[in-house]
């Protein structure tokens, strides 16, 4: 009797543990539409390779962009678009709570990474940008860049604030402002004696347009009026840039 009790306990523990492990490792969902189609790949054009029926349980394996790789109980794998996968329920009977990154969700506090290419005065610029949305209408960004002049080269780093009051359009205008530092170095061939390195601080105000493509891809056009303050002089420059970034 005692032995059978132990065995029962062991089996129960095993089941409990395997359930726990399964819950930790994957998300199980149940199809509620009459059918759900699996594609061979995560993207447009990939053909439908399998159709799952109503009430069939599926396991979510991985997410790539807007697509989810799932497996049915026969371990047949395929990819399903987020909108389609949203038409499933959890074993609890509640609708599937998929993590979504949609156009409207950029209002939420989300990070974004990207880069920008452009010109400042006569010099070209290439900049890495990482940002974070503080409020629905204000974003903060840090940037690290390189400046390519004809006789001088530079690196720059700075912090920006972005005000984007309208949130529902694909094309949204914004106003930007920021400050930072630029370190310049004269190209070696033109180095004539004395100091060939100098620093300047800058502030700028600017504006532009963000164009939101798909769910989380942004193309940005921006114009800036840059005020540079060096050791013994100051300068005003205009700069423009085109940027590409994605939030996640």
């Amino acid at each position: 009797m005692f032995r059978s009790f132990l065995t029962f306990n062991f089996v129960f523990l095993c089941i409990a543990f395997s359930n726990f492990a399964a819950a930790e490792a994957s998300v199980e969902l149940i199809v509620i539409d009459t059918y759900l189609e699996m594609h061979s790949g995560p993207g447009r054009g990939y053909p439908i390779i399998h159709t799952m029926e109503q009430d069939e349980p599926i396991t979510v394996l991985r997410r790539r962009g807007n697509w989810y790789q799932v497996a049915n109980r026969h371990l047949k794998k395929g990819w399903i678009q987020q909108e389609k996968l949203a038409r499933t329920i959890a074993p609890s009977g509640l609708p599937a709570a998929l993590p979504d990154t949609q156009h409207g969700d950029y209002l939420a506090q989300q990070g974004r990474i990207g880069f920008a290419l452009g010109q400042q005065g006569d010099a070209e610029t290439a900049t890495l940008v990482a940002g974070f949305r503080l409020f629905s209408f204000v974003g903060a960004e840090l940037e690290l860049g390189q400046i390519f002049g004809t006789s001088i080269d530079g690196t720059s780093y700075g912090a920006n604030l972005l005000f984007e009051p309208i949130q529902s359009w694909s094309f949204t205008p914004f106003i930007s402002t920021g400050l930072g530092k630029q370190s310049w170095k004269q190209k070696e061939k033109l180095n004539v004696g004395t100091s060939n390195e100098f620093n300047s601080e800058y502030t700028f105000i600017g504006g532009g347009i963000n164009y939101y493509i798909g769910y989380n891809f942004v193309v940005r056009g921006e114009y800036r009026q840059v005020s540079l303050t060096g050791d013994n002089d100051s300068l005003r420059n205009s700069a423009w840039r085109i940027g590409f970034s994605s939030f996640f």
Binding site: A23, E24, A25, S26, V27, S40, G41, P42, G43, R44, G45, Y46, P47, V60, L61, R62, R63, R64, G65, N66, W67, Y68, Q69, A90, L94, P95, A96, A97, L98, P99, I113, G114, F115, L117, E124, A126, L128, Q146, F148, D153, K187, E188, K189, I213, G214, Y215, N216, F217, F244, S245, S246, F248
Partner: protein, 220 residues
């Protein structure tokens, strides 16, 4: 006698139960219950739990090797690392860093490099920041039973080339082909043009440096 009585009882019982079953609950006229439709929204805590459980793969990281034709300085082997961020099914952002060593120019080759050398630093290092577009996503059929997902993509962007002791703003355009070997592993073949204004003595000229490379990347 008893049998007959039992039959009667049975009929009586069945008929009453039949009436009970067939009489619907809404038999009384005009007394209809309308249940309001409740929309059940997925809750946020569950969403966060899902987010932790589903393996989201946006990044692709890898290395490549190939041939870089450095204009005027022959062709060299090039090695690099690349990182991509897949923003949507169509677009991705990619950063590359590569290194090569420039060979000899024709003049240096013929007359000896100490006489005619126009550069001292032969290291060619570059980085670039690119936008990619998966132009033709599809499948590659190797045999009847072996099929891989693949994509032909275009890239464009800019970056820096550090060559001959100078930084050069470099525009990079190219195309590539990605075969997804496993769910997490891909092989890439890339063809790219790195173009910049090079200083040749007092003059500058736009050079095109063509790169052909192949590499492995992993999604994570």
């Amino acid at each position: 006698m008893a049998n007959w009585f039992q039959q009667l009882l049975l009929i009586a019982f069945l008929s009453t139960s039949l009436i009970t079953i067939t009489t619907p609950a809404w038999a009384e006229d005009g007394d209809v219950d309308i249940n309001p439709i409740i929309v059940v929204e997925p809750d946020n805590t569950q969403r966060e739990a899902y987010e932790a459980q589903i393996d989201s793969e946006f990044f692709e990281l890898g290395a490549y090797a190939g041939i870089l034709a450095i204009e005027d300085f022959g062709s060299s082997s090039v090695f690099g690392v690349k990182a991509s961020f897949h923003a949507t099914e169509d677009f991705f952002l990619q950063a590359n860093y590569g290194q090569a060593e420039a060979g000899l120019s024709t003049a240096e080759y013929i007359y000896g490099d100490s006489e005619t050398s126009i550069i001292t630093d032969r290291d060619y290092r570059y980085y670039n920041l690119l936008v990619g577009y998966n132009l033709f996503p599809g499948e590659t059929f190797v045999t009847q039973d072996l099929t891989f997902n693949s994509a032909f993509y275009l890239v464009a962007g800019a970056g820096n080339t550090d060559f001959a002791d100078n930084n050069h703003f470099t525009i990079t355009v190219g195309s590539g082909y990605r075969i997804i070997l496993k769910d997490w592993l891909t092989i890439n073949v890339d063809f790219r043009d790195h173009s910049f204004e090079a200083e040749i003595g007092p003059k500058t000229k736009r050079t095109h440096n063509l790169e052909f490379s192949t590499g492995l990347t992993a999604f994570f």
